[in-house]
Symmetry: C2
């Protein structure tokens, strides 16, 4: 971190890769939408612009959420946990879809417990709201 | 993973350290309580016993949440995200305190935006419900 790093940003503990997990939560309903990763640059831009910006680990570049889909997340509130190593973004989700599968939330699979734990299964419990082919044209 | 690994557990993508981040959310209020890490063993025990068990990275051992404080988390629902690399536990938080600081949630610091981003600051916005010295006797 340079001497120009703001104090609030210096309080954030990035991991050995320079990243921190960030939870997006719908500010109104409380629904957890997704978890992505931020580096210092994406966090600073998020705080400055009020729009969620992440670090795409697969594409190795800044990922301005909604840049392709239009499903931008407007930042309502930014929180930091006690250890300083997880961020919580309370957001307004434009288009009501956060997941690339066209669902409201990425957490659409629920464990269905069987009496024999080996027979338990992940079950899709949330609907696709919009065909991803229509989202990513 | 051994041949005896249940299919649902094989669907979970642990990172290069064998860990996955797990969000605890109050099943009733939707409040995000904390984020901790799980390995395969702690996840299997959580699913089997219905009590949140994590992997403590600092102590390098299983951490049965509430083992010292009594602030156990009862699992109501377990979810997995689209990439299979983040878990969401909807829980009942016994004692209404998840954080070691004696607060309901670990996310008790909110960024207070200043006109000059360098002057923004993390502000504590949630009260201590119980003195940690009384929790960890």
């Amino acid at each position: 971190m340079s001497a120009a790093t703001p104090g609030w940003l210096a309080d954030v503990k990035f991991d050995e890769k320079g990243l921190i997990p960030a939870i997006s939560q719908d500010a109104q309903s409380g629904q957890i939408l997704m978890v992505a990763w931020m580096n210092a640059e994406s966090l600073a831009e998020t705080a400055q612009t009020g729009r969620a910006v992440f670090w795409s680990r697969s594409r190795k570049r800044l990922w301005r959420k909604g840049e392709e889909s239009g499903h931008v997340q407007r930042l309502i509130e930014l929180r930091l946990d006690c250890d300083g190593d997880v961020l919580l973004l309370k957001v307004e989700q434009i288009g009501d879809i956060a997941c690339h599968t066209g669902r409201a939330s990425c957490f659409y699979r629920r464990l269905e417990h069987a009496a024999d734990p080996h027979a338990s299964n992940w079950v899709i419990v949330d609907p696709v709201l919009k065909d991803p082919e229509l989202i990513y044209k």
